[in-house]
Amino acid sequence: MNFKIFSTKGLLILYTFLVLLWTYAPIAILVIFSFKAGKAMTFPFEGFSLRWYSILLSKPALISAFLRSVELGVTVMIVVIVVCITTSLALRKPFPGRDILFYMVMLGMVTPGIIYGIGAALLYKMVFNLQKLSLWTALPVHVVWGLPFGVILTLARFDPQLSDYESVARTLGANGWIVFRKITFPLISNQILAAGLFGFTLSFSELMRSLFVLGGPPTLPIYVYSWMGGLSLTPEFYALGTLTVAAAVIMLVLIKVFMGRAYGKRLI
């Protein structure tokens, strides 16, 4: 081991560790407090209890908000996967208008979401003359938010090696569809899955692009946002936060598995 704490590497590792500690300490405290018996959200920690979880789960409005978020998130995931495949395939090679399409897709990622939340609400009101917004009016607004992340992930996979495999298949007489189904799709499938999970999570926790374009019962972020507006912060929030963190961790582990596999394949 040539590891010295005072080497550049040692200092960088220490620095990174401190940044991670600073990032994760509040999240860890949140999780700990959610299991606390008392109501006061202060140290020291006294007594383990699932009390706040049972209070949380006895709120039907919260459960329905959660289910609505899942419903929307899963739909966003499916649409993002499909559109991500077509858009990435289109953007692979130069064609007249490629830059325009690329910049347009990326626009949603690099400009503030609130602009599109308001603009889409106006579009629904003024053009489609929609009197009632629903869960599904938020769907396309969420899709254009998740899409650029997915497209970037997928485009990164189109390396020269992948093109080589495709041209070999074509030389051996496979038609376009067969090449896509047997070569291209399996090779990009992990990125596509990661893109879909990205779309799900972005939609699941999205507030700015939901608040003005989503009608009917609220999704989870909207519910919590209006709940918290009352400033009556109770430990149920911490229980809810812990569940959200747990869900995010599960998503990240899934992405790690898919992306990890993709990296593994690249080494072949």
Binding site: M126, I152, L240
Partner: protein, 292 residues
């Protein structure tokens, strides 16, 4: 004959490319471009006694630029976003450098990236409330400072103000600084550094001329991401910032009282600021070279 055939196949390929481009194109036009146009249109509408009337006016922009409050808010938000961006750069660059230069194996790098993705991924509310036990009067920071006898009594200076809003925004957006810098650093051919060393350059000189210069595209993209996210954020200022008046919160408040024209006008100015920043930054670096 061969020429004609390849011509036909090019036409066919273009057709299929445009067909593939269609879903993404339609979605982008309908839900990115057209919403911007509607923000623009509504910003010229009149708002009178709680009603939006389709009568052309410049009133909203005049109000925005003649009011000390709104101009002040814009400048304040730019300052806030600059602090967040600078802090993310300072915190993120060493992490990105470590990942690109010292961490071995794609898998370990991916894990680090995902670790910084999580805080951005959990929603605003959860991220915000997590800091209350840390920054509050009874919180960890106050306990530590009192234990060290730096403070005599608990201070409320850390929570529900600018400080806590900045802290939460940094935590949320750090990945978007680390990610792009890491990707640009990872492209550096390490033999350049060896060459610089062989030719007698000092470590600092080699770092500046090779590593830092080649990572500028990543820095620029990181700055764009973080700055814009911090500019537009309306939930963090409301949830943990003690309602500090950022323009994001201004927009949300105007929509809440159904003053869509004024909300539209502020949105357009916000868009102008962000697009202006992007255009300036992209003059310095070509974003496409990082992706294609």
């Amino acid at each position: 004959m061969g020429k004609i055939q390849s011509g036909v196949s090019i036409v066919r390929r273009l057709n299929s490319v445009y067909l593939l481009a269609l879903p993404g194109l339609i979605l982008s036009i309908l839900f990115l471009i057209i919403p911007i146009i509607f923000d623009l249109i509504i910003s010229f509408y009149t708002y009178e006694s709680g009603q939006v009337i389709s009568k052309f006016t410049l009133e909203n922009y005049i109000k925005l630029f003649s009011s000390q409050i709104y101009l002040g808010n814009i400048l304040y938000t730019i300052r806030l976003a600059s602090i967040v961006t600078a802090a993310c750069l300072a915190l993120g660059y060493p992490v990105a450098y470590l990942m690109a230069m010292h961490i071995k194996g794609e898998e370990n790098k991916l894990i680090l990236i995902l670790l910084f993705l999580l805080p951005w991924w959990i929603d605003y509310t959860v991220r915000s409330i997590a800091w209350i036990p840390v920054l509050g009067r009874e919180g960890v920071i106050n306990k530590i400072l009192m234990g060290l006898r730096i403070l005599n009594q608990p201070s409320g200076a850390f929570l529900f103000n600018e400080v806590s809003a900045i802290i939460v925004m940094i935590q949320a957006n750090l990945l978007f600084m680390i990610g792009p810098i890491f990707f640009s650093l990872a492209k550096i051919d390490k033999s350049f550094l060896e060459a610089a060393e062989t030719l007698g350059a000092s470590k600092l000189r080699a770092f500046y001329h090779i590593v830092f210069k080649m990572s500028t595209p990543g820095i620029i993209i990181g700055i764009i991401f973080v700055f814009i996210a911090a500019m537009a954020d309306f939930a963090t200022p409301r949830l943990i910032g003690g309602y500090i008046t950022t323009i994001g919160l201004n927009i949300a408040n105007q929509v809440a009282v159904l003053n869509w024209p004024f909300a539209g006008a502020i949105s357009i100015i916000l868009l102008m600021i962000t697009l202006g920043l992007i255009v300036v930054m992209l003059k310095i670096v070509d974003i496409k070279q990082m992706i294609f």
